[in-house]
Subunit: 719 residues, 2 copies
């Protein structure tokens, strides 16, 4: 097999070299058994054995099949227990109904790692799910690390080992790839072979009954030869662990993931495909961002990023230089630079001077530098050298089209040689045209410069590198802020009282008590069941007050005449109390009413919302946005996972919304109390993290003043 | 040369067949002269002659070069006038300084069409621009249709004729391509040759000194063999003509354009590249949409659309069926369907039943249909037939990955055969994997089924087809509404008075008079220079009134104490008048004040904005959005070209903004007067179309009531 390993990537020493990841024994086993090995070509048990032998795996290979004595020239054993000596890895390709027995035998033989390719588990329905649960339990009992079931297998090009039934083995390289779809594995393998793209590991994760995407991401972050971690996933197995572990991994190596099932129809399809129960796309987006995952929108983007990360340094900044021999592609690339959050570098005077001296008068010496269509390879090289060397340039995109009478490969060689002088700056290429550019693209690929079919994609790749550089600049996610002045016992008391009444929806007075117990400035509410109680409460709270009907069944209280505001006297309170009960009774005669809530009326101000929703996979998410009617109208909100939320992140939440402009003092209005808003969000996060029974919570409006905030209306539901 | 012309495309009869487009003589000339033909290989004048001969052009070819008697076996003439008989087309490749003389000679010889490839005109600066102006004038004098200068030339595969210095000639096909970048032409030609994509025409438009993109779009819309019109442009030559003419062309054939220079840096680069002075990206977006142009965001998208439009019918609706043999790609495609505004088809009962009978139990019979990885070509074909035949399916995407032990080409052949039964439904394919799928992709390409590397791109292509089908459903753009009850003379009087004072910014009282003259309900404003005038005005308008300082120099009037609202009595008006003058004098002692404006105070309501800006290329654009502080905060606005604006389009403007939700009555609020808002927008459009001297205009706020609207503040600047 051709070794297209790129320069500078050391081959791994071999199966005897100790590793640092708990999965090293899986990827570099001392010996491999293939259980269910077959003599019949086309059978999976045959393909695996053949692949293993063909991949250059250096340890002993033991086929297991009670009916054969030899397969492909290897001695065949009737069972795994019959194999003399240790077995490092067993690949299981027996029918589903035999898998549990085989795994048990492996456990007794102390086989540490398994790959179960057999299908017929969770993905086929309830019976399969039961079988899979027993499989998981068995592996846990024996402490076996298992890949699958229902997968294509695993490959490691550095061991080397192909423990899969794939057709083909990837080139050796720097990209660790994991996929929840075996078919995509196969397609991508084909595709990479054609393009000479190399992989370090290739993992088909299958049903993730034991080992999941998280284990493989952590492993690849630790291994000595993967430079970028690439994944296709349909769901994550454990959302909260995922965020915590991947945010560490993503600081070691870029983690680029395409997550499918983002649309409603797509999620349904994913669920029927693998039985995966995915959280919401919003939660994934939030979680991925917090985990430092670079999310690819399309398969193409995934690979465009991958080859850039595998070969290029992380750029020091966003400033892109472009060298082209024609205007059109230069303009197209320039458009993309701005659209993707990069910026066009401004050259320093010295660069402009030397370019002016070097290039013909009709050339463009400003960025994008256009050396013109008739430029020689030497001239292109010269221009590239000066652009790359300019201290204001962080990365360079090289474009070429219609090279009149010159060899594009020579231009490519010039780029390759010059770029060595500035190894810290990424360089990408898009030489446009088909066969004309094949030679040039070979030169680039052979020299670790990623090359793209269109200029836009070259810039997308630079934008991916830049996103990662921004991520590395951020302080690592911390523990999250925790306020000590909270009173969980008070919250427990309220919840107990609510449950005692067999309710899940809290009354306003209760929700405000819970919020206040966590230091949120919720305007206090007293529940009055009689006129005298209402007046007493108003006297104690101070006028003016607001009266609201108290009933978990009534959502739009104003609509039924259930709200009175700005009551200034005991008489007004008395009158308001009776009027509310009368109105509500007239509008909704059969709805039970708990009484009337009395709340001190707070001054008006700019209204925001702080809300909480709970995701199946990732736990509670907190939301911030413009409040009042604007919430539903504008949907201008930002989200974070509640767990581990830091004050720094709450500031970013504000900044992601248009509400931030209002908070900072918009068009002459005074700035509002940003710190108090941030603290409120953080306290809400702490509350819902401490009490998983809070299913939903909304503060709307949270009114922000020049000094302080007030939560005027808190809604809460427990589960 | 290989003829990869796809089935069903008739070859054009030849150069003698009359055409229906004014550019037919250009694309099918009876004879061609190459002025500046050269014997030296590598020279442009040599390449053109060689290309012309090699392309199979059937008419006489006449090289012109005073120093040669024969080139490439063709008799060479000293000048174009020395050629016996008519010359249908002259391709000019002489140095820039000789071009005018050559063109003059062509004019005298009555050559109707020219292609000037020579560079050194507008793109090189002021002198070149002068030369180009003289070239244009010369062509106009002689009535010559000229392509260029500074271009690669033109090609027509049906004539056939290659009148360019390109390397290579495209396959014959259905795509008409025009490009403002010669380099892109060359790159795309290479690229298409590699993929077997065919073109009908290939035009490098160059500097567009005479013929522009518009001429070529109109021509391709009329010719008998182009099915889709594709363009790369950096600017359009005449914005208003463009919209009108292309909206007709785009109803005949899809017009797909990538416009570069959309970013600020990109526009600068474009301007330095061709000397193009482009309008704003916003104006292009608006104009393209109104012209029915399908705008491609990237080069890749341009071609993904192109091969779909060239080969597929326009789908009857948005409902997509997906057939796949593996879950992952199916989910990825499903996600895209929803994201791109298509919908997943729901199969009828009969389809589900037959799929259930046909497919194995583990298969997914719901959309996306998953026939599973071990499906035979027959099974795939069966599933495809039923999905395609379902009356609820408008288009089908066929996906394949990891075909275990089967020949993907056989799957492709099955698709090709079945699709013939439903020729009205588009079918696209994405068979994933590299070389493995080469045979299948050949089958698809040979049978007019577009095939894509990734599932996402197949869905992008279907979305493009669907966008076009939506366009065709719209009534054709009409003349636009015109209200008869307008008073242009009043507007002229106001403008004359403003100009007489050497001002360009109108006072509020003036702007309100102009708006009122066009039937816009602008709350009347009187300008008072003395207290008594203010009181008189208030008495006449009716209380309460608002007073505002009148000065074109003061933008934020409230900030300097220049506004008093809710004045109910003559005494309050008197006091307010004096206070305003005092405040303003104190804050801005040197700013001249024209007096104080008295306006009847209108009741509050929901605030909108109607604005006008003028684009260099496309003339005035009207804008609608949420008013007040929300304009700047939310930027939630919609735009249309003022010219020819219909009431139907004003309704769409409303619907494109969040303001529409408010207008329709949001969360229990009463609906507002949508018709009055629409009429106001249309009247503003009429006003600014009638008076090109209006440079800017803003109504902010336009207050909408349950019945009627009021323009509370109208600002206007003339030029």
């Amino acid at each position: 097999m051709q070794d297209t390993r790129v320069r500078g990537t050391p081959a791994r020493g071999g199966i005897d070299e100790p590793g640092s990841s708990p999965l090293d024994p899986l990827f570099h086993p001392r010996s491999v058994a293939v259980i269910g090995a077959s003599k019949t070509e086309g059978k999976i048990g045959h393909s695996i054995l053949k692949n293993l032998a063909a991949s250059g795996y250096k340890g002993p290979i033991h086929p297991v099949n009670p009916k054969e004595s030899e397969i492909l020239g290897l001695e065949c054993y009737p069972s795994v227990s019959a194999i003399p000596g240790e077995v490092g890895l067993a690949v299981v390709a027996v029918p589903a109904k035999l898998v549990l027995d085989v795994v048990k035998e492996c456990g007794e033989k102390k086989v540490p790692s398994l790959v179960v390719v057999t299908a017929g588990f969770k993905e086929v329905g309830r019976e399969g799910l039961e079988l899979e649960k027993r499989l998981t339990a068995l592996c846990e009992d024996f402490g076996i690390r298992m890949v699958g079931p229902n997968c294509l297998g695993i490959m490691d090009t550095h061991t080397p080992m192909n423990a899969s039934f794939s057709q083909g083995f990837p080139h050796r390289g720097d990209i660790a790839f994991l996929s929840q779809s075996g078919a995509l594995c196969a397609a991508i393998l084909d595709w990479s072979l054609e393009r000479g793209i190399g992989f370090s590991k290739f993992v088909s994760v299958g049903n993730k009954a034991v080992l999941s995407e998280l284990d493989f991401i952590q492993d690849a972050a630790l291994d000595g030869y993967s430079k970028v971690i690439l994944g296709y996933i349909e769901d994550v197995k454990n959302g909260e662990d995922f965020v915590e572990a991947v945010s560490r991994a993503s600081r070691k190596k870029p983690v680029v993931i395409i997550k499918s099932g983002t649309s409603q129809a797509g999620a349904q399809a994913a669920s029927s495909h693998t039985g995966a129960l995915a959280g919401s796309n919003l939660a994934y987006d939030t979680a991925f961002r917090q985990a430092g995952v670079i999310r690819a929108e399309t398969m193409e983007e995934l690979f465009d990023y991958a080859i850039a990360f595998a070969t290029q340094p992380i750029p020091p900044g966003p400033r892109v230089g472009i060298v082209t021999n024609s205007g059109g592609p230069g303009i197209i690339a320039t458009d993309r630079v701005e659209a993707l959050g990069l910026s066009m570098a401004r050259f320093q005077k010295e660069t402009l001077e030397v370019l002016r001296r070097t290039l013909p008068p009709a050339a463009n010496i400003y960025n994008p530098v256009d050396v013109l269509g008739d430029a020689t390879p030497e001239l292109y090289r010269e221009a590239f050298r000066h652009v790359l060397g300019d201290p204001g340039v962080d990365a360079v995109a090289c474009l070429l089209a219609r090279p009149a009478g010159i060899d594009p490969a020579e231009v490519a060689r010039g780029v390759v040689e010059e770029r060595e002088r500035f190894p810290a700056k990424p360089v990408v290429a898009a030489f446009l045209g088909g066969e004309t550019m094949a030679g040039a693209n070979d030169v680039f690929r052979g020299n670790r410069i990623p090359t793209y079919e269109f200029p836009e994609r070259a810039i997308v790749a630079l934008a991916g590198l830049h996103r990662y550089s921004e991520l590395l600049k951020e302080p690592p996610p911390g523990e999250g802020v925790r306020f000590p002045d909270v009173n969980p016992d008070e919250v427990k008391r309220v919840f107990a009282a609510v449950r005692a009444e067999r309710r899940l929806v809290l009354l306003g007075s209760e929700a405000h008590r819970v919020a206040a117990a966590y230091g949120i400035n919720a305007a206090p509410i007293d529940l009055a069941t009689r006129v005298s109680e209402a007046v007493g409460a108003a006297e104690e709270l101070g006028y003016p007050v607001v009266l609201k009907v108290a009933s978990p069944k009534i959502i739009h209280k104003s609509d039924v005449g259930g709200v009175k505001i700005g009551l200034e006297t005991p008489a007004a309170v008395r009158e308001g109390f009776l009027e509310i009960l009368e109105n509500v009774h007239r509008a909704l005669p059969r709805v039970p009413v708990n009484g009337v809530e009395v709340q001190k009326m707070m001054p008006g101000g700019t209204e925001f919302i702080v809300g909480v929703s709970r995701d199946l996979q990732f736990g509670p998410l907190v939301m911030f946005g413009l409040g009042g009617i604007w919430v539903n109208l504008l949907k201008d909100v930002s989200f974070r996972l509640a767990k581990g939320l830091s004050l720094r992140e709450t500031e970013r939440m504000l900044m992601e919304t248009k509400g931030y402009t209002l908070l900072r003092g918009f068009r002459g209005r005074p700035p509002l109390d940003v710190e108090a808003v941030k603290e409120t969000i953080a306290r809400v996060a702490q509350l819902v993290s401490d009490f998983p029974e809070i299913a939903e919570m909304d503060i709307n409006p949270l009114v922000a003043y020049e000094s302080g905030v007030a939560a005027l209306d808190v809604k809460m539901t427990i589960s």
